[in-house]
Symmetry: C2
Subunit: 440 residues, 2 copies
């Protein structure tokens, strides 16, 4: 039996003026869940927004308070970021990715959202022929919303059927047109939690060089592929990255998930040494500056959007990077809780007729972590998302992420111990109410 | 005699790859000054960047640390800002401006720089006929740089010769063309420290309504017109504001100067209740949302640029607003030091042949505060700025601010007690080296 009646859900949706529930944004789903919880007193299994479910890193918090006490709050942070954070980032990338990026090329940003907004802006202004961004989907819907603001076109495809070698022909199909300025993906992937493997990143990197497109690699969930032990500084294995296969890249490293620091809005955009120093006459003409990619990005674009990143928070991130490098923070172990939650949640769903949608990487089964994807036989993405609301489970439809698969994205971050039996109970009811027709 | 020789300055300029010293940006001037100081050990009178010269507000710092201890750092701040800050802003505006703006219409932003970036973006997308921003100059060069990023045109004029009633015909000359989306100015003015008076704001407001343009009123130096006592809550006099004369406005209130909180990057954009709720089909079409100005601004634009404002800093600003309303912070008295500095600095300059460039408002002499403008007979803006560098004084040329007057902007924020005699000595030398020809 449904927990929340058809009438109640319809009424809430109507009052919230949500036009199309099946395609609801994260913000809309969150409002529906909050409203239903509030009005009925019944708990929701909140699998919608990917907000950290752990405490903000203690070392970061202490460093931030010390910086406030030292008085950094009165002075504008340097446009290029504080040297402490720039150096720490460069060292962190060496320690945990085994890649060399100069401190000068690491720019603090107000979250990776600001980094990608700036990256899309500059990439769209390099060459008037290259007016389109290519998304390797599924992906983070905000990034497409950013292109709507800027007024830049995009194309996309669902990687589901193009893993491994098949990726090459598919990518080249787009790149051949000559209009692709940037290639975007997240790894581990939001929403599917798939991880691109070295051979796939090699394909992306080599094609980016060949067609002179810039890869924007979103490492929001850096190191959180818990199948490998990625938290030991200066020791393999290292996470795969396109940075090994092209100079045309910007890596985005956020503090939001790996240090549970989402509320303070800080990330770092790391530009390859070579791209940072490349001169673009188009930029020089537009901004009346040197036209050097990294300098224009910092001084003529990012500085003009926020005039730097909260001063005390930069010191917090610098300290968290430094202590990670020193082995005093293990950000992989600190967040492994998400792996445990994903295992339990996925089991409850699959025990009740659900399937994992993105279930494999090229060489192994998909890992357990911050997000997972599930489908239910005979239901499309929007139907499943909407139907789960009646059973007190909020999530987002995969159709809003550029996926062509039927299913939803679940997030483990808000799961609590006492909710597992409730989720199990509800999914048993769900299965009863939605009998699966066995194929003949 | 010059403190820094022609050769030394030229050499530094060359090494820093600054193409045109006369038109140098604040960042470039700052670099020249820092380099000369470092290489010679001689102190510079740093009148360039407007970074606060006072300690960050203590109450704000304590509130921020408490918020960090409460654990707000892990959770994304609400897209619309935390309710505490939204309510405090609405109350602050009532207490110190005697204007009614709903809490819902007050949006925290990552500094006023982010607010104006977002405001320019949305204003440029309302009506395809209105593709140009009008600056009442002199103004803050960053705002024009923002338009370069967005790709929006602008027009401007120097208000120097159009104070009072003359403003009307001048404004209408631009507005009649029908292409003006927004009108921008700061009050008190950066760089000239002039203050638009009620009759001037009435003209601006009424014309904004008539021609359906949106006024972006930058109140970065809110209450800092020290000629009046503007720091008493709920008591006149109140600062003049266009908000009394039109519904088409966005006020930008920054914490950077009034609470010396520049490093933490926080401000609030306050949209009139009526504009906030106005529906624009163009926005609805572009963003596939409601097209309601305020909702689109928050959810489809600002949220997509930074995903909110540093969580702990929002609590700091809320507390500083609340304590100001309660009379426990007097942000006018707290910053009055700048008035004293301006008086002393202006006296040193005028004792040595300099004149105050923007010296009057309509009804009274210009006040003393954060900035002032000075000129020297027979020298244009760029020449004066460059020449002062040789005497160890860094500033920006008025020509970089949209001013047509000859002179420079000086900032009082970095002045220190021990520097007054040095400044006086150097200006005596300056006068000796640049004899003023008396007019016959």
């Amino acid at each position: 039996m449904k927990v929340f009646s058809e009438n109640l859900v319809n009424d809430v949706v109507k009052r919230l003026k949500i036009a199309n529930v099946s395609e609801a944004t994260i913000g809309e789903v969150l409002l529906i869940a909050q409203t239903l919880e509030k009005e009925t007193g019944l708990p929701f299994i909140r699998m919608d927004q990917g907000s950290p479910g752990l405490e903000a890193n203690f070392i970061g918090r202490e460093a931030e308070k010390k910086a406030i006490d030292r008085g950094v709050g009165s002075q504008y942070p340097a446009a290029a970021g504080i040297p402490e954070l720039k150096n720490a980032t460069s060292n962190f990338i060496k320690a945990f990715l085994n890649i060399d990026i100069d401190a000068a090329c690491c720019l603090p940003t107000t979250g990776s959202v600001a980094a990608s907004f700036g990256a899309f802006t500059i990439c769209s202004q390099l060459d008037s022929q290259k007016d389109t961004v290519l998304f390797i989907d599924p992906g983070f819907p905000i990034q497409k919303s950013q292109l709507r603001i800027i007024g830049t076109k995009w194309v996309q495809f669902d990687i589901h059927d193009y893993r491994g070698e098949a990726l090459k022909a598919k990518l080249e199909e787009f790149l051949k047109a000559g209009n692709i300025s940037a290639i975007v993906y997240s790894n581990p992937n939001n929403p599917a939690w798939i991880c691109l493997e070295e051979n796939e990143l090699k394909i992306i990197g080599e094609l980016a060089t060949k067609y002179d497109a810039i890869v924007i690699e979103d490492l929001a969930y850096f190191g959180m592929d818990y199948r490998k032990n990625l938290g030991i500084p200066f020791e393999p294995p290292y996470p795969p990255s396109v940075a090994r296969y092209t100079h045309n890249y910007i890596l985005m490293l956020s503090a939001s998930k790996i240090f549970s620091y989402a509320g303070q809005r800080v990330a770092v955009a790391c530009i390859s040494n070579k791209l940072f120093r490349r001169q673009y006459p188009t930029l020089a003409a537009r901004y009346q500056d040197s036209g050097v990619f990294g300098l224009t990005f910092i001084a003529s674009i990012m500085y003009m959007i926020t005039s730097g990143v909260t001063h005390s928070t930069q010191f917090a991130l610098a300290e968290m990077y430094n202590q990670s490098i020193d082995g005093k923070i293990n950000f992989v172990e600190d967040t492994r809780e998400y792996q445990i939650r994903a295992q339990k949640m996925k089991k409850i769903f699959t025990d009740n007729g659900f399937n994992v949608v993105y279930d494999r990487d090229v060489t192994q089964q998909v890992g357990d972590g911050f997000f997972f994807t599930i489908g239910y036989p005979g239901m499309n993405s929007g139907e499943l998302m909407k139907e789960l609301l009646h059973y007190g489970v909020s999530c987002i439809s995969l159709s809003t992420t550029g996926s062509e698969q039927d299913g939803i994205r679940g997030c483990t971050s808000r799961m609590r111990e006492e909710l597992y039996p409730i989720l199990a109970e509800r999914m048993i009811e769900f299965r009863k109410d939605h009998p699966i027709k066995t194929k003949i």
